[in-house]
Subunit: 291 residues, 4 copies
């Protein structure tokens, strides 16, 4: 046992527990044109878990194995629509059945699959190919009845070969050696999450609109900085989605460095680049509605 | 350009930018017995960056390339001790030189290296082998002069083959199928971070004491739950480190499931186990000082 | 020094050296519609490197830093078409300039980018989004003049929700507990490489034909086993590509297991599945032309 | 169905199938001082599988699920010693029970765990901490009775801060810009595999001797090149292990580049380095016994 510390007073602070990386696929088979949801789920419960932590008393605790079973079991009758709606169902369930559970959160990473191509252009009825971007969601509650929802997109890797620069920054500084440029490659591996101005909405439709705005806004302007493009993307999303109150971006600046070919007597007009894995500029910002 | 939205009012919210994944090694060579620091650094700056985001005006912004140069440059004269102290130096520097910078944060992941073994047991003077656990730190400031420091340990993978159970939980529940046990394998891939009760201290020494407490407390008791062991570990750390005000753990329960050999007419007394990669129970909690 | 071993006779066996993970982007900018190649390159040289290994004599060795420079430098004038053609250029170069180099191999992993969508359906002129599947190639030579080429596809994740089964296998066996099924989900993360019946060809065009055959053949039949589908895919590729002499597939059977909901009084008609990360069936086979 | 290709003649080439990423832990509990094996196993079978591939006929095939069950089941009575010996048991079993199986291979990656420290220095009886290097093995048979064994070490990350250089290479070459040095940091992430001169031996003991030789030889000399150090390490292993016929190394040269601080008016005597993640020099070689 740990040594007696007669004067040591210790208590449990904020805490949660649950199950992570529950990989669930739900297939809708009611017509010949199947639909799939492929999600990784984490559910964490909050509540009065002091007895377990401090005294080793597990009375009335929900086992994390039960959390797993419940996710699969509830997906059968529930999970008819978006991950956001399913997250609310899950959390309401755990608050209801758990004697000591008062709230919690559910997190989803949804793998996106496109239908395999067919001659008629409609895509295959039951065969799919995995896509790279992911849909994310986080649902939180403190009472099992009201929910804070955030949704997101991750692993969206976009690049443009021109119409981007970096000029006018602080140049007279000891450690500054970077030359200015008005034509560079700009690339980012976009992560974003957004909050809602409404209690509920068509989450699938909103996600689709955000995704389209990111794809069309990223290249539609000369970018003086990744920060400015980030802001444009946020502005476009808020314009297209009245349901959204604010949106956060994490955008690494994946540097594509012009390789020094002058040493070998060769010109390099932005054609031959080193795709540098590290370090990268990293920008994070919320874009919000102003009154 | 994005379509005109005459009535759309948008503003910049909380934001930061800087450089991530700066991989720095510093070698102390003043004696034949070399010492190394091998760190991955992220520095993010906060301040008034609205002009860049909203208007594309980069005036007086520090380039992230300069952040990188500064980390290497300042490591030469500075970085004489812990990553925590170096983080303070870095942030004070950026607040000082950046016309628009008012604060920021620095994050470190330090790879740990042990000296290669020698016949005399002292370890090699200049040859090392990488270890698995990592040391982490985060330093934050809003003024460049006062700092909030958190330190941590990650990727510490511990396992015990007995003296662990899971009993007495909520059993009469629709989705509950797990049987109780008073003898199971318990394993976790520990991440923890702690906050300080003091403005500064010998961060290296504290880290070493925490690391030892985790290693000795994890196995020193019968564990009725991972939550209880987490709490014991927190209690032991607070007992050994008066400098620490509270400590947070994230401990996945890496399940080692007894494989069903009865189907083949074989006994399995907790000998043959499936090391299940997912899902895993996931526990998070702060352990704090009580008054 | 290592202890003297007077009777130990040791020699150098097969060996190579070079540079790996050279990340190169080449952008064709001659018209407003830019084109990009985004490749990770490894070049390894073979030859008479005994002096360096055995005696520490580096005379006339090409530095691996020079290999890197050469890849970027030669990409400027060369690399006008496929990675396969560029690989030949690279190897011919190193055999020519390296006094001790007689052959080698080049390996490419090409990241694929699609044009971002535009209203006219033509895709953006200079903005792109990263795709998940990758194009691979390996070029080998022993003389710098003749080359063995293999090309491939990797990270193609396909899934079908029906038209797959697994029946008629060895059932009366001690460790066999799996029930037969004629309707299951089948998914695989396909890797394939192919060899050529010709010395050179339009490698880009062949790659496109293979990619289409994989996408159309995977779902076009009832699959009695992943092995049979693998064979169908190989057959289709050989039918569509006279340039190819044989093709090898590595196809994991990414199991999607029907979750046992009967325990909770729920039906599960192949709707609710556990996407099991491990273990997976793993099939490897060559499909070849018969005389 | 795939289109009829009346003149297309296709056949099955070399092929195998089995189960991969089977994660097995075996615990020896016969005394209070427990011992653990934590292995990831792949088993692939070879034989006459043409009917399954070509005609969709699975008669007498062993299901990969059965392979998994067999690995766990056979581990109960068997797997008393090394992974190499267990691999032989597994392959002999599958050749014996599989009507169509004539051979195959088994691959192991063994995670290494050290006992947690105790006051008496003996290490804990039943609590362990995961180490970074891994033990690997591959066992192959074509008859189920005779076996070719290779064993290995991977993820051994070693570094020395001095006693390494790179000089005397080909300097007068168009793309060569690297300056010579006689004092640099040398680091490598070592992978090696070895073959045996004997049919069987104490595989655990051999592994321990190899591991020690790598650790002591890497730093014990001035290294004129990674190739030369590789050769020294091979020579030391062959000297210490008469059971081994030859050993192969793959050693990336993990570059630690002196950061250019002169631009900022600072000296850098090999103290401040950029740990470059890519590209890296990559050396591969066999070191063998000469007659």
């Amino acid at each position: 046992m740990t040594a007696e510390k007669p004067h040591l007073k210790v208590k449990l602070g904020e805490n949660n527990y649950g199950k992570a990386e529950v990989n669930l696929m739900k297939i809708k088979r009611d017509t010949a044109r199947h639909e799939i949801h492929d999600v990784q789920v984490r559910v964490a419960m909050t509540g009065d878990f002091e007895a377990a932590h401090v005294h080793g008393d597990n009375t009335d605790l929900i086992a994390t194995d039960t959390v797993r079973n419940s996710i699969y079991g509830l997906a059968k009758e529930g999970f008819q629509g978006s991950v956001e709606a399913f997250g609310k169902e899950l959390l309401a369930h755990f608050v209801k059945i758990g004697p000591k559970v008062t709230g919690g959160f559910a997190e989803f990473t949804e793998h996106l699959w496109e239908r395999l191509p067919t001659a008629d252009g409609q895509g295959h009825d039951h065969a799919f190919v995995r896509q790279m971007p992911k849909r994310t969601a986080r649902i939180e509650t403190t009472d099992g009845q009201t929910f804070k929802v955030t949704s997101g997109i991750s692993e969206l890797y976009v690049l443009k070969t021109t119409q981007s620069g970096w000029e006018g920054y602080l140049l007279q500084e000891r450690f500054t050696t970077l030359p200015e440029t008005n034509d560079r490659v700009m690339a980012s591996y976009v992560t974003c999450i957004w909050e809602y101005a409404v209690d509920t909405c068509d989450y699938d439709d909103v996600w689709g609109r955000v995704f389209r705005q990111l794809q069309t806004t990223f290249p539609d302007h000369y970018s003086p900085s990744l920060q400015n493009t980030l802001y444009h993307m946020g502005e476009a999303v808020l314009g297209a989605c009245p349901e959204i109150s604010r949106i956060w971006f994490q955008m690494p600046n994946k540097h594509h460095l012009v390789y020094n070919l002058a040493r070998f007597g060769l010109e390099n007009n932005n054609e031959i680049l080193h795709v540098d894995p590290e370090p990268y500029g990293l920008m994070e910002a919320w874009v919000e509605r102003a009154e």
